[in-house]
């Protein structure tokens, strides 16, 4: 039995698809649905956090601890 060019292409295409799936499942970290949440998208991004915190600090100045405290706690 001899392989024609179309058979070879099919086999190659099959291996490429299998390899692509393997790459997705093996290399990509196994994140759960949590990575889809808006909590994660914000709290894992330094850039977003910095932007948000600047906005918050601009509108609501940070409340410092009382300056009247003296001595060691």
């Amino acid at each position: 039995m001899t392989w024609n060019r179309i058979d070879v292409r099919r086999v190659l295409r099959f291996f490429v698809v299998v390899a692509a799936f393997a790459m997705i499942f093996l290399i990509t970290p196994r994140y759960t649905y949590a990575d889809e949440s808006s909590c994660i998208s914000c709290h894992t991004s330094t850039k977003k956090l910095l932007e948000v915190i600047r906005e918050i600090e601009a509108s609501n100045p940070k409340i410092e601890a009382s300056t009247e405290s003296e001595g060691e706690g």
């Binding site: 994140y31 909590c39 994660i40 894992t44 060691e72």
Partner: protein, 490 residues
């Protein structure tokens, strides 16, 4: 401890979401923290968010899994965890408080604003810094099995224990355990940190607390292990169960005075304490028990004062003098050699080391009556029955007469001043040892770090000396004789 930038406090490391790194990342955020991840705005998303879902009750957040699997032994007893309950705080203030219930309610409210904010929780040890030190996630929300020392242990226990242990007090060396590379968890195990299962009046009553004897076994203890460091010094035999370890092995530590709490014009809570003082005081134990039988212990001044809550209500602590202000303490600056263990007389007769009325302000005298040490006459007065007390104290080591292996000290002059003197025996009274032996040095005593009564007499050395002298004379005699016999007659 370096402060965190605001964004660092809430930054979540993406590794947290990797199951292999932290299984907690598989739980959705809102399941523990609440809030609404589907909201359109940040404000709506954070509505109802719990910053620390483990405080005050971790049953739902941690207990959901850890009660049945993981660490049920921790979850079950965690209600008695003093880091969370601060139970002794409340009980001790209650003892000093005005019995009027209205005043009591005000005190409770004030304590809630001030004292009780210094608590921890599962989350504030294993996930973030404690809220009392401005919080902030440690390691990007990755759960830490053992809380880091700097951010979580000494961030709260810093001004006293932390400074003592790490050598932060000027002129006072760090604790030998720290210098040996040990950190908090080496002594304070997870079992102790998560409570004992019982509600205690005092943290020193906690049954599974850290004890020196866990590693430093008593002589002859059945619990001796290979790794244990035995305590062979005769001082341990003499002082065991009478004097706490810290009395001999601790050095100056911090004492705090006169705390006041209130709120500033902006309504922010504040506290004020007088400057701390470094001091070292031995007092009587107010908590002698079967497990803590020592009569003499280290005492530390606590900052309580009658006017502590004056900002909120006057006469809040009408019974402030019902409890000592110098409290049982275990300073964390242990040293092998200290000024007070240099010799017996460094402590015995050194009245400056002992807590007396002179160390208390007028209102504190009544409070500390039970812990003041009644001073004893100076050693030379106590030994005045001897012919020459000063000479004996200067020339004779205390252990020669106060031999720990004997039930009573030597009081008969003839025990020393006779031919068969006890000075020629081993201080331990061991029958198989003689100070007149053939060994060349006292190494067998020195190696054990035990007291050497005096120089021993080495028969071998004596014999060698005599032989050298005899041989010298013999050589001279032979030389002279030969010269006489071989002389050339003129």
């Amino acid at each position: 401890m370096a402060p965190l930038e605001p964004y660092e406090k809430v930054y979540v490391d993406s590794d947290f979401l990797d199951e292999d790194e932290d299984v907690h990342g598989q739980i959705s955020c809102e399941e523990c923290h609440g809030g609404n991840p589907d909201a359109d705005t940040m404000e709506e998303a954070h509505e109802g968010v719990k910053r620390d879902p483990t405080y005050p009750d971790a049953t739902k957040s941690c207990g959901e899994c850890h009660l049945d699997e993981g660490h049920p032994e921790i979850a079950e007893k965690n209600g008695t965890n003093l880091h969370i309950s601060l139970s002794p705080f409340k009980k001790k203030i209650a003892l000093r408080a005005n019995p009027d219930s209205t005043v009591g309610d005000t005190i409770e409210s004030a304590m809630g604003t001030h004292c009780m904010t210094c608590h921890s929780s599962c989350g504030q040890c294993h996930v973030s810094r404690p809220a009392s030190v401005e919080g902030g996630l440690i390691e990007g929300h990755l759960f830490q099995k053992t809380p880091p020392v700097e951010t979580n242990c000494t961030s709260c226990h810093g001004s006293r224990v932390g400074s003592e242990f790490h050598g932060g007090n000027e002129g006072i060396p760090a604790d030998v355990h720290h210098l040996e590379g040990m950190d908090c968890k080496e002594c304070h195990t997870g079992d102790e940190m998560h409570g004992s299962g019982h509600d205690h009046f005092d943290r020193y009553e906690v049954t599974n607390r850290a004890k020196c004897e866990d590693c430093h076994k008593s002589p002859g203890s059945e619990a001796d292990e290979e790794a244990a460091k035995p305590r062979e010094h005769p001082s341990h035999t003499i002082h065991q169960d009478k004097v706490s370890c810290q009395v001999c092995h601790s050095v100056s530590y911090k004492n705090c005075y006169n705390c006041h709490v209130g709120k500033d014009t902006a309504g922010m809570p504040y506290f004020k304490t007088d400057p701390s003082k470094m001091d070292f005081k031995i007092g009587l134990s107010s908590k002698i028990s079967e497990k803590r039988p020592e009569e003499y212990v280290i005492v530390r001044h606590v900052p309580v004062s009658g006017s502590l809550f004056d900002f909120y209500v006057e006469d809040a602590l009408t019974n402030v003098a019902s409890e000592p202000t110098w409290k049982f303490a275990t300073p964390h600056n242990i040293q092998l050699k200290t000024p007070q263990n240099e010799s017996c007389l460094s402590c015995h007769g050194n009245n400056d080391l002992f807590l007396t009325e002179g160390d208390a302000t007028s209102w504190e005298i009544k409070a500390n009556e039970a812990v003041f040490v009644p001073l004893k006459p100076a050693p030379h007065v106590r030994h005045s029955w001897l012919e020459q007390p000063e000479l004996h104290l200067a020339k004779v080591d205390c252990l020669t007469c106060h031999d720990p292996s004997h039930a009573t000290p030597v009081e008969d002059c003839m025990q020393c001043h006779e031919a068969n003197t006890i000075l020629a025996t081993d201080p331990d009274g061991s029958p198989d040892y003689s100070l007149t032996n053939w060994n060349f040095t006292n190494r067998e005593l020195i190696d054990k770090d035990i007291y050497v009564v005096g120089s021993n007499t080495i028969p071998g050395l004596d014999l060698a000396g005599i032989l050298i002298i005899l041989l010298t004379f013999a050589g001279c005699a032979v030389h002279g004789t030969l010269r006489f016999l071989c002389r050339k007659r003129k």
